[in-house]
């Protein structure tokens, strides 16, 4: 007697709480095509690695008959586990318990695991599936959100923070994911918005479905709020696990080291980029021809696709890639692509990941909508991010590098450590057509056949300036290289910049244009 009975009592108590919101609520969750919070954690972590905290936490709300309600675990599961052996802190909101609504104790559990993650310097993964604030708990639930946002901000740049949206995430609740580094969404399951369709209909008289307002596709293609899109929860968890292999567990550490592997032979680096600078190609093929095992892990694939960002490995170590994508919008910089690349560069810098930049862009996207959307302010973000980044910065100019775009894309002038250019590179103040039209305006206008003269002058300009040698003559480009040499020289530059140190002016923090 005694110990044995007490242990049995513990088992009974555990069993009771582990049911979450009960069979009916679980059935409903499953009918929506969703896993339960506990199933999600189990699928994400290494087998038997998850340890749950605060299983027996109860809410203390009294108003509106809440004192008579039992909410198991207060609608959220927290704990620690491992992914490929790397430690992680996790919270998962349990929609089967009061719709995963956030009350005071629910929030305290989340902040407890957040504090733990920051203290132990391990990544935090938050699985969001919640109807929002628990209205019965009033301002206490708002306080809970505030405490979470504050910790998201403190942890930013210290530990990786990953948000997984597996259900509704509405109102103030969306700001926690927005403050984190990577947001994962799943088609038809994730819903994120500040103001829901119901309010929009009654207040504004505008009709829209939840999916069209803030579904997974919208956030992956239009808003850029999400970083990874998948068709199912299982696929989503695979993506998260893969991401974990690429990122260091904190800003003092290194990512997992992998066995170095040559790129796959099907990616022939000299056969990807067409010689004609007006013809498109998929720049991701160039990245795949450079990285270990041709394994490139793209981030925000569907949003602002005119720039490509993501991780790959060189000699087994994680490298961040930024590349203009001539296949989409000719690879121009615009509001969204500047924003996308700038944030990624800051991520890499915060977590000490070297950056390789591949350049092939005609400039900035012309248009009233771009100017009025503040392309000046957004474009400046990229200049800022590259300038302040002190990690090793390698730049390869593949083809076009014109005007402001040339400067912005990790140029020597923003302190790139190594600048390579292929013989196909054209580094100039603008494209030959535009430049010739301005410089030789008088000659063209006064010529007998202006069109013939224009063509002649464009050709003249092209021959003189559309090459890498003018920039190389000034030392803005360190070496003009053959495409086949790219991987070898990039590996070499990473190797020789292992102990890079840069001294910046002392300051509290800069004021980037965001």
């Amino acid at each position: 007697m005694g110990l044995k009975r007490k242990i049995l009592e513990l088992h009974k108590k555990r069993e009771e709480v582990l049911k979450g919101g009960g069979d009916k609520a679980i059935e409903k969750q499953t009918a929506m095509g969703k896993m339960t919070a506990r199933e999600r954690i189990i699928s994400l972590c290494d087998p038997d690695s998850f340890h749950e905290y605060d299983l027996f936490v109860e809410h203390e709300a009294r108003d509106f008959d809440m004192d008579k309600k039992i909410l198991h675990g207060d609608g959220v599961i927290i704990g620690t586990g491992t992914i490929y052996g790397a430690p992680v802190c996790i919270f998962a909101q349990d929609f089967t318990v009061a719709g995963g609504s956030l009350g005071l104790m629910h929030a305290r559990k989340i902040t407890k695991i957040m504090d733990h993650a920051l203290k132990m310097k391990v990544p935090l993964i938050g699985i969001n599936d919640s109807g929002g604030a628990r209205i019965q708990e009033g301002v206490n639930s708002l306080a809970g959100y505030g405490e979470i946002f504050f910790r998201n901000t403190l942890s930013s740049g210290v530990i990786p923070q990953i948000s997984v949206i597996l259900g509704p995430c509405a109102g103030g609740a969306v700001y926690s994911p927005a403050l984190t580094d990577f947001v994962f969404v799943v088609d038809k399951i994730s819903k994120m918005f500040i103001t829901g369709p119901e309010v929009i209909r009654t207040v504004l008289g505008e009709e829209i479905s939840m999916e069209d307002l803030g579904g997974a596709r919208v956030h992956s293609e239009i808003t850029g709020n999400a970083h990874f899109f998948s068709k199912s929860e299982a696929e989503c968890f695979d993506q998260i696990k893969k991401l974990v292999t690429f990122i260091p567990r904190n800003n003092m550490g290194k990512a997992m080291k992998f066995e170095p592997k040559e790129p796959k032979p099907e990616y022939k680096i000299s056969e990807i980029v067409p010689g004609d600078p007006r013809q498109p190609y998929d720049v991701r093929d160039v990245i795949k021809a450079i990285v270990d095992d041709s394994d490139f892990f793209e981030i925000q694939e569907l949003w602002a696709a005119n720039i490509v960002i993501g991780f790959g490995r060189m000699n087994g170590d994680t490298i961040g890639f930024v590349a203009n994508q001539p296949l989409v919008l000719a690879g121009v910089l615009d509001v969204d692509s500047s924003d996308k690349a700038a944030r990624f560069v800051r991520y890499c810098n915060a977590f000490d990941i070297p950056i390789i930049t591949l350049v092939d862009l005609p400039g900035y996207l012309p248009g009233i909508d771009q100017e009025h959307a503040g392309v000046i302010r957004h474009g400046a973000k990229l200049l800022y991010a590259y300038s302040e980044a002190t990690v090793p910065k390698m730049t390869v100019i593949l083809r076009k590098a014109y005007g402001g775009g040339y400067i912005a894309m990790s140029s020597r002038h923003l302190r790139a450590d190594f600048v390579f250019a292929w013989p196909t590179a054209e580094i100039a103040v603008m494209g030959p057509e535009g430049a010739a039209n301005i410089i030789f305006r008088k000659e063209i206008m006064s010529a007998e056949d202006p069109e013939k003269m224009r063509k002649l002058k464009v050709k003249e300009y092209k021959e003189k300036f559309a090459n890498p040698y003018v920039a190389a003559a000034r030392g803005y480009v360190d070496s003009v290289i053959e495409p086949e040499e790219t991987r070898r020289l990039l590996l070499h530059s990473i190797e020789v910049s292992g102990s890079k140190s840069v001294f910046l002016p002392k300051k509290k923090h800069g004021i980037p244009p965001f």
Binding site: L204, G205, E266, P362
Partner: protein, 117 residues
């Protein structure tokens, strides 16, 4: 590795002009569905927010000065006083008191004074 071929209809290549050069490329959804710019007409007063017309302070043909109160639009729990953007004559009033006005409703149009002569 699949090479990009602009002649392939599936690639949906379009032309994009930058600094006088024509580039072959694809265009994404957000770019294709972007709003065309329309020059704002200062003499046309639109509801900037959906709401209810609480009170109309002007009548047809009335002369107004810049800054005169035209009407009160209640929206977002606030009684917004809509002021005349310029000096002129009330050319048309397209809303009634008590009526709900969706966002972008042309509420009042003001005729320029020089149009009268």
């Amino acid at each position: 590795m699949k090479k990009v071929n602009c002649e392939d209809k599936k690639v949906r290549c379009k032309s994009l002009y930058i600094d006088g050069t024509k580039y072959r490329t694809t265009l994404h959804k957000k770019y294709l569905t972007r709003k065309q710019y329309a020059k704002p007409e200062k003499n046309k007063v639109y509801s900037f927010i959906p709401g209810t017309i609480l009170k109309i302070n002007v009548s047809l043909g009335q002369c107004v000065k810049k800054g005169d109160s035209l009407l009160v639009l209640e929206a977002m729990k606030m009684q917004n006083i809509i002021l005349s953007p310029l000096e002129g004559v009330i050319k048309s009033i397209n809303v009634k008191e008590g009526e709900r006005a969706p966002k972008g409703t042309l509420m009042v149009e003001i005729g320029y004074t020089h149009e009268l002569t």
